[in-house]
Symmetry: C2
DNA sequence: AACACTCTTGACCGGTTGGTCGGTTTTATG
DNA sequence: CATAAAACCGACCAACCGGTCAAGAGTGTT
């Protein structure tokens, strides 16, 4: 067995992910070219295709890594109620500007089979948030709870878009 | 002077606008091709270029018509306070699914000189809404009023995305 | 009826894009 | 040290896209 993958394989993949995410978010996924993404990452286009099967696979990995990270953050902060959960989410958003933007506007560019698992991750976030709200407001009925959860995410996203310098809610 | 434009010139332009808007919204402006839009409208691609200078000009006309319509609706409902204004906006959204979606996600595809007048229309909507809020809550200071207005639009858009069968707020 | 211009089209074009290929360099392993 | 695979690249390709063009059909005006 001559050799396996390089010891920094994962690091380089992550670097590609990060660079490509910034480039995709800046130009819009559809308008952004693989050639451009490669230049931004300082590598040849062919190298990206060495690490990834294609443009969609790259986008999938970007979003998958981001959402998985979010799920982990939320799971860790779930015990502390909304007062800990919401700042934790906002803080995670702060470090992942490009990824968050892509999640909002480029998810639809993926075909069903790639989109589905990402949507599942999103749903898990929503479930956790819903649980946290229900824990503090046991009086809400199912529909209202659902609407409230969605509205919270809505406000969260809206504040994120217009409110760069983070101050508390 | 041999002849002017056909008597149904405006009607046909509007039909093109409507068909293209639906097609653009369904596929995303960047991914949507002019060939596809033409097929959707039941005409040849060359005909679209007879009515419009290009893809961007077509998108501009779609958004311009939509926003102008919204401005008109809001101006008409301005006297009645938020109780009339908000349902009026939601109702206008209802008839213009595709156009609204495009406004949210394809405006950025236009170059500055085309985007500017559309942003001006948006700002006019915001101003009117802000005025309506101020009329009912004279106690809000400038910053808070601005934030409140943005949040109202944020909630409006979020509800629109998830809440097809409209019930009152 | 003759004209001039709009309306409408299929065929075509240059440029860009996602993706591939053949080959060179590098490196872990035996 | 030999070697086989990974890491990396420049050049290339087919497909598609926005846009053009030349030409025919239809129509209001003189």
């Amino acid at each position: 067995m001559p050799r396996g993958v390089a010891h920094d394989h994962d690091r380089k993949r992550a670097a590609l992910r990060k660079g490509a995410a910034a480039y995709f978010a800046a130009h819009g996924f559809d308008r952004a070219s693989m050639t451009g993404a490669a230049q931004r990452c300082g590598v040849s286009k062919a190298l990206i295709y060495h690490y990834y099967d294609g443009k969609e696979a790259l986008l999938f990995d970007i979003l998958d890594a981001h959402l998985s990270d979010l799920v982990q953050v939320v799971a860790a902060a779930r015990g502390g109620g909304l007062d800990q959960l919401i700042p934790a989410i906002l803080s995670a958003y702060e470090d992942a500007d490009a990824e968050h933007k892509l999640q909002l506007e480029a998810l639809g560019a993926l075909p069903e089979d790639l989109r589905a698992p990402l949507v599942a991750l999103q749903r898990r976030l929503i479930t956790d948030m819903s649980g946290a709200i229900a824990a503090e407001r046991a009086d809400l009925d199912t529909d209202t709870l659902r609407a409230t959860t969605m509205t919270v995410f809505g406000i969260l996203n809206w504040f994120y878009m217009w409110h760069r310098p983070g101050r508390g809610l």
